[in-house]
């Protein structure tokens, strides 16, 4: 089983939308969640292509910079 990769928030904010489901395949930079911060909708992109294995946040959750929002298997 390949190691999973943590997808971390790049800014402190609130979860605006969760853009993926568990099992979904993504390409690099595809949005995983969108955060509302600084009055903008800021996507957190996949660091590489792979399959989403776990989602750790839901809509309206506060998220800190560096916090893991989902995990992906490359």
């Amino acid at each position: 089983m390949t190691k999973t990769i943590d997808i971390v928030a790049n800014i402190t904010g609130v979860v605006w939308t969760v853009d993926v489901e568990v099992g979904q395949r993504l390409d690099e930079d595809d949005p995983v969640v969108t955060l509302e911060s600084m009055k903008m909708e800021i996507p957190v992109g996949a660091p590489c292509s792979g399959e989403i294995v776990e989602i750790l946040v839901s809509k309206d959750d506060p998220v800190a910079e560096g916090q893991t929002v989902a995990r992906l298997r490359p």
Binding site: N10, M40, E41
Partner: protein
């Protein structure tokens, strides 16, 4: 062989056939091969071929004393270079090779030559540097590290770089690093001894760390060849010395039609986009030379050409952190301003920012002072400064990004807006009402606090010189660069940032 021929062949033989073969097998170029690659015809005018250690017992095993120094042409212009030879006592710093570096710097400044450091060095030489006498002998030059940016300096980190090579990399205007090289104050072994912990070299000073975290490295490459090519490209944007303007080349149309600018940037200001796509439709095709691309990605900086003229780019990137300036982004902006102001390069700022990124992390690092450093650098820079607001510019960062009198021309797109803060936040701050708790009251207060943030308000009070439509951005900037040309001084600025310590 005559005595002369013998001495010469020993000096050119560097650390000997065994060490040179080991490097070749590892796919590494040696110090002289790197010099040959840097210069147009592979040849250079050497100074100090017969230099050697001051210690009699080391004299026969220190060809060129571990640092090869020479002068040659890069794209037809003369350049000075120092190439560290790791096969000779680890290119460690000694009295004699210190003298060689001092000579290289003096001649580069005296003759207006860019200076290149091809770096890998193990640090101070032992036993030369040991004891009080060693320390005293190592500090004989009161201006050794007083960088005054009379000519551009560029460094390549091509192996272990501790001590000398680390210092000169940080003093340089451009630093490229080969993957696998390590840049740190001291070697992992010395560091591990000092703090009694295991040290992972890549974590201590690998290219990934410097490109993302420390921001000391401007570009990362895979090979020596790519590193030296990057230095040649960097120098092509700059004048040979601060007393002249950057070279101008033939104009090339942008990669993407400037007519597309209005659609590349989404009108909805809550939506993000990649600022680098704006550059594709703005600057001469393939001319953008990014600096610190993976450090503080919320700000894009680099050199580029507009109509064949070199410009420095400072651009918010909404794709990362909404384009908000934080501590590292301010450092990155200062670096670019220092480079441009030192070498007569006009600055173009592309503005789309929601205000400073506030929070604990920035405050703990001293964010207010960094904001002031950024503003001070901008206001002291005397090269032409042109700023274009694409969509919005909020808060105190309005000034950092060239607002009002902080640019020679402050230009806004017709759809842009400027204000102290987003009215939605202001309602919360002033009245303590949020959209979620009381939507009706929020809506009415929002309307009352939405002072007109139109670009025509700024233009109306002549705090902005122009309002343009997006597709005119390139042609407007090209015309502005022709006008703001500092003709009375032959295009030269006052260079007040030339003495700025490394940001």
């Amino acid at each position: 062989m005559t005595d002369y021929e013998l001495r010469k062949s020993r000096a050119l033989g560097m650390g000997g056939p065994r060490k040179l073969a080991a490097r070749r097998n590892a796919g590494l170029l040696n110090a002289r091969e790197r010099m040959a690659l840097l210069f147009d015809d592979g040849a250079f005018h050497e100074a100090g071929l017969f230099a050697a250690s001051e210690r009699a017992e080391d004299r026969d095993r220190t060809p060129a004393d571990g640092k090869v120094l020479g002068f040659g042409a890069v794209d037809g212009r003369q350049v000075a270079a120092v190439s560290n030879d790791l096969t000779v006592m680890g290119a460690s710093s000694s009295t004699v090779n210190g003298r060689k570096i001092a000579y290289a710097k003096k001649m580069a400044s005296a003759n207006g030559l860019p200076l290149v450091f091809l770096g890998e060095s193990s640090g101070g030489r032992i036993p030369d540097n040991m004891g009080a006498r060693g320390m005293g002998a190592s500090a004989w030059d009161s201006q050794q590290y007083a960088r005054i940016r009379e000519t551009p300096w560029a460094s390549a980190v091509l192996g272990p770089a501790f001590g000398s090579s680390a210092w000169y990399t940080c003093l340089s205007d451009f630093a490229v690093m080969r993957k696998g090289a390590i840049l740190a104050v001291a070697s992992p072994r010395v560091t591990a001894q000092a703090i009694g912990q295991d040290i992972d070299p890549e974590e201590l000073g690998g290219s990934e760390m410097h490109a993302r975290k420390s921001g000391l490295i401007d570009q990362v490459v895979d090979t020596d060849e790519e590193a030296i090519a990057a230095i040649r490209t960097f120098l092509s944007y700059l004048p040979s010395h601060a007393g002249e303007q950057p070279p101008r080349v033939a104009s090339i149309a942008p990669k993407v039609d400037p007519e597309m600018l209005g659609t590349i940037v989404p009108e909805n200001r809550a939506r993000v986009y990649d600022m680098r796509k704006v550059l594709d439709a703005l600057v001469d095709a393939d001319s953008f030379f990014p600096l610190k691309q993976r450090f503080a990605q919320n700000l894009v900086t680099g050199l580029a050409r507009l109509d064949g003229r070199t410009v420095g780019i400072i651009a918010n990137n909404p794709m990362h952190k909404g384009g908000a300036l934080d501590y590292d982004a301010c450092s990155k902006a200062i670096n670019l301003l220092v480079l441009c102001d030192s070498f007569n390069v006009p600055v173009v700022q592309l503005v789309d920012q929601p205000g400073f990124l506030v929070g604990m992390e920035g405050e703990l690092r001293g964010m207010p002072a960094k904001i002031m450093s950024n503003i001070q650098a901008l206001q002291m820079a005397s090269v032409p400064k042109l700023s274009v607001v694409l969509r919005k510019t909020y808060g105190a960062a309005f000034v950092n990004m060239g607002g009002g009198a902080n640019s020679d021309e402050f230009i806004l797109w017709d759809r842009a807006e400027a204000s102290f803060m987003d009215p939605g936040i202001a309602v919360n701050i002033v009245h303590g009402v949020s959209a979620r708790d009381d939507p009706e009251q929020f809506k009415s207060l929002h309307a009352s606090l939405s002072a007109d943030s139109s670009p025509f308000e700024l233009a109306g009070m002549f705090s902005a010189q122009a309002v343009i439509t997006p597709e005119k951005t390139r042609s407007h900037l090209i015309r502005a660069l022709e006008l703001h040309n500092r003709a009375p001084t032959g295009g030269l600025g006052k260079r007040r940032l030339a003495n700025w310590p490394y940001a």
